[in-house]
């Protein structure tokens, strides 16, 4: 895991070498002269070898010094203050929504396989899967914000000022991220359950006098959930990525907006820090998925 993170952070660091523009370009803007740029580059230590700088950053990072932001004149910690909470709350809420929507829905749909309800939902599912979150976001802002006035688009309160208000502002962004993912999970769960339902062991279970529900609960779900759990865990990574876009649409001050702005400003220290955080979430969720899978299915052993 540590190796993966290390590699990702190195790649992110190197990526900046290949795109045009550096922090100096941005800081000087229209006041640029080659002399001033060279002086500033030297002052900021940007004239050193890229690997030397990476090593510097890395040693700083592991000792808890994330460096100083180029574009805000503050430490990275100060810049990130409060931003992580927004993205974390948003992602978590979206993720819980995915689970809350898709699991009951998937089970219900599999129950009525081939029925009218099922057909309608399967068709709708396709539509929802295809909608990008940013579009849903714009749609929500318009329908729920401007027409129904359920929330104030562009409004935001910090959690320390009004915690419930803060969560309230996240509901629609979270839904915008969650719906396409929920559609996918529902589809996966439905077909997974249906696949299991045709198995021999299900017939045996029925023949022992089990009701449909107890067959589902005791036998089928255990197997059917296996691929779903892995997928759900992985969606959290997607959701974090999705929140980057949705934060723009809803003007939420989270990590995503900070990341995009910092890439634009070539503010490496901030970008590095966010990239490592996101990478950590992805890697960690992967690991967690493995653990959960193993708990559900003891045949799988973690290497």
């Amino acid at each position: 895991m540590a190796v993966t993170l290390l590699l990702i952070s190195l790649l992110a660091f190197l990526a900046f070498q290949f795109i045009p523009g550096d922090p100096v370009t941005n800081l000087l803007g229209s006041d640029y002269t080659p002399e001033r740029a060279a002086a500033l580059r030297h002052e900021m230590g940007l004239d050193r070898n890229v690997f030397v700088r990476y090593w510097d950053w890395l040693t700083g990072f592991v000792t808890g010094d994330m460096g100083e932001s180029y574009s805000y004149g503050m430490t990275v910690g100060q810049v990130m203050e409060g931003k992580g909470a927004v993205t974390a709350a948003l992602s978590l809420m979206a993720w819980l929504l995915v689970i809350a929507i898709s699991i009951p829905l998937g089970i219900t749909l599999s129950r009525y396989q081939g029925g009218r309800l099922d057909r309608v939902f399967v068709a709708m599912n396709q539509v929802f899967m295809a909608i990008p979150p940013f579009f849903l976001g714009i749609l929500f802002t318009y329908v729920f914000g401007l027409v129904l006035k359920l929330f104030v688009p562009g409004g935001f309160v910090r959690p320390e000022q009004d915690f419930w208000g803060f969560l309230g502002y996240l509901v629609f962004p979270a839904l915008a991220i969650a719906i396409p993912k929920a559609a996918m999970v529902t589809k996966l769960l439905r077909s997974s359950i249906l696949g299991q339902m045709g198995q021999d062991y299900v017939r045996t279970a029925y023949s022992r006098g089990n009701s449909r529900w107890s067959v589902l609960k005791k036998h089928v779900l255990r197997n059917a959930l296996l691929p779903v759990v892995t997928f759900v865990a992985m969606t959290l990574a997607d959701i974090v990525a999705g929140s980057i876009v949705v934060e723009q649409v809803f003007a939420l001050p989270g990590l995503g907006r900070l990341l995009l702005a910092s890439i634009g400003n070539r503010d490496y220290p901030v970008v590095q820090c966010i990239v490592v955080i996101i990478a950590f979430v992805v890697v960690f969720m992967n690991y967690l998925a493995d653990v959960v899978t193993q708990t559900i299915d003891p045949r799988i052993r973690l290497g």
Binding site: I19, P20, G21, D22, T25, N26, L27, L28, G29, S30, D31, Y32, A37, S69, S71, Y72, G73, V79, E81, G82, K83, V120, A123, M124, V127, F128, I138, Y142, V143, F144, G145, L146, L148, L150, F151, V152, P153, G154, G155, F156, V157, D162, W164, G165, L167, G168, Y169, F172, L175, Q248, V249, F250, A251, P253, R257, L258, A261, G264, N265, R266
Partner: protein
């Protein structure tokens, strides 16, 4: 089938809405209640620069625009384009325009409560002009030779060469002696700095001991909303009270609110790289001027809002603006084709070039599309838009000078013609189009050194004429600037500079 799906989809969405609806209305109400006490929320499209150091001239006009409320110089600009005394009470200038004497206004206080002394002024100007380091922080003050306090309310500034425009540069901020804005933002303006949160907001508060007319609102929060659509939504919903620099289409979406139209005070043009082919050939540059009908571009790209320009000067500069230059190149396709043919281009061998545009600047992108379309009609020009990120544009096009043509807007940081015209002097570091003309250099030098106002005006106008005659760039327009406010917000004033004065804005009723 489709209908039923749609109906179901709506039903699901509505139900979801009902679940969360209860909690929502409560906090929506509390948000607007807090605003009522003279607090105004302004939407700005990009976050401020790294340092809020007023002397480190900022690459972002958006930063200067906000800092205008916090810092003041000896003089400050007013809405009419005049310079009015601020921290100074009055000034005199000697006959050779190389010595300026300022009298300090009494009772001006810094935001930390201390009274401004001549020491603060000397420190500020010395710092900004880089007299101790030898490296001026503000290029406009590079001509300062010495700053000296002759008594406890008089400061004398000596210049190394006469400069009749110098007074406009004394808008440079006055900060407390010995202070560094990195450690605390202290000015003398009508608002004091409270806090900032990156990509979120910047908060300023009314300064009660302000020497002049106090601000009419108690607190202003600048919220950073970088997405144009989100900005429109935020105005619709009332999440923000005011937003400036909207374009015509955004303003049209917000017709129910207060829509004010001013101008951006910048020179939008198709800037041409005069230093290299194909635009090192004056015939090619002129052909483009004839082919691009400014009025049509403004109609196509900006719904007809905008002021056509013919040189690097915009109307807010009053006497320096030469209106006749706007029509110097009457749109004339035949002439354009003739010039292109002379330069060796034909429909078989068309002129090909790229136009670098920062993608995020919608008005420039729209203009670029209109320009490409008009040029296509000559049948001899194939222009291609090269959208890029701001940082890339700076490093490649502006600083690297590695571009054919670019559409952007050049604004003036001070109320001087030099702010717009200085960059086209051959050896100016900011001369990114590589324009070189001895006549221009001579006229410019004459304009900045004379103390005679009429002669100065004539010389600057000569500079503008040279730019136009040489078709240095294809000048297009001064973009329209739409400011949209909620209906209960009053007092917004346009300046001939890119600033946003919040001190006159207030909520009524």
């Amino acid at each position: 089938m489709t209908k039923r799906i749609l109906a179901l989809a709506m039903a699901v969405l509505m139900t979801a809405a009902l679940f969360v609806g209860g909690g929502q209305s409560a906090f929506a109400a509390s948000g607007s209640a807090a605003d009522a006490a003279g607090e105004i929320t302004v939407g700005i499209a990009s976050d401020l620069d790294s340092s809020l150091d007023p002397h480190v001239s900022s690459s972002l006009a958006g930063t200067r625009e906000v800092l205008f409320n916090i810092y003041e110089g000896l003089m400050k600009p007013d809405t009419q384009g005049n310079l009015i005394p601020a921290v100074a009470e009055s000034y005199t200038v000697n006959d050779t325009a190389d010595e300026y004497t300022f009298t300090l206004r009494e009772g001006v206080r810094f935001h930390n409560g201390n009274e401004v002394t001549v020491g603060d002024i000397v420190y500020s100007l010395t710092r900004a002009a880089g007299l101790e380091t030898g490296e001026p922080l503000m290029a406009t003050l590079a001509g300062v030779k010495a700053v000296e306090a002759t008594d406890d309310k008089t400061v004398v500034v000596t210049l190394s060469a006469p400069d009749a425009e110098f007074i406009a540069y004394t808008t440079a901020a006055v900060i407390p002696e010995g202070s560094d804005p990195a450690d605390g933002i202290i000015g003398t303006g009508p608002f004091k700095y409270v806090s900032r949160s990156p990509q979120e907001n910047v908060v300023i508060e009314r300064f009660d001991d302000y020497w002049g007319e106090p601000a009419r609102c108690a607190k202003v929060t600048f919220r950073i909303i970088d997405d144009g659509q989100a900005m429109v939504m935020a105005l619709h919903s009332g999440a923000i009270d005011l937003a400036a620099h909207l374009d015509a289409s955004q303003a049209a979406e917000l017709s129910g609110l207060n829509v004010l139209e001013g101008s951006m005070n910048l020179v939008q043009a198709l800037y041409l790289n005069n230093a290299r082919a194909p635009f090192d050939d004056i015939r090619v540059r002129q052909a483009l001027c004839y082919a691009i009908d400014k009025v049509m571009v403004i109609d196509l790209a900006c719904d007809g809002h905008g002021t056509p320009l013919g040189s690097s000067m915009y109307p807010a500069f009053g006497r320096f603006f030469d209106e006749d230059l706007t029509g110097y190149y009457e749109p004339d396709m035949a002439k354009a084709m003739e010039l292109l043919a002379e330069a060796g281009y034909s429909s078989d061998k068309p002129l090909k070039f790229t136009i670098a545009v920062v993608e995020a600047y919608t008005p420039h992108m729209n203009t670029a599309q209109a320009v490409v379309e008009l040029l296509r009609q000559t049948g001899m020009v194939e222009a291609e838009i090269q959208p890029m990120e701001n940082a890339t544009w700076y490093s490649e096009a502006y600083q690297g000078r590695n571009f054919d043509a670019t559409i952007t807007g050049m604004d003036a940081s001070t109320l001087t013609a030099s702010a717009l015209l200085g960059r086209f002097v051959s050896d100016n570091a900011k001369n990114f189009i590589g324009f070189a003309s001895d006549d221009y250099d001579a006229a410019y030098a004459a304009a900045v050194s004379t103390t005679d106002a009429d002669e100065q005006t004539a010389k600057f106008r000569e500079c503008e004429t040279i730019l136009t005659e040489n078709a240095a760039n294809v000048y297009i327009q001064d973009l329209a600037d739409f400011v949209v406010t909620q209906t209960d917000i009053q007092g917004y004033q346009f300046y001939p500079l890119y600033v946003m004065d919040m001190s006159t804005v207030c909520r009524v009723g």
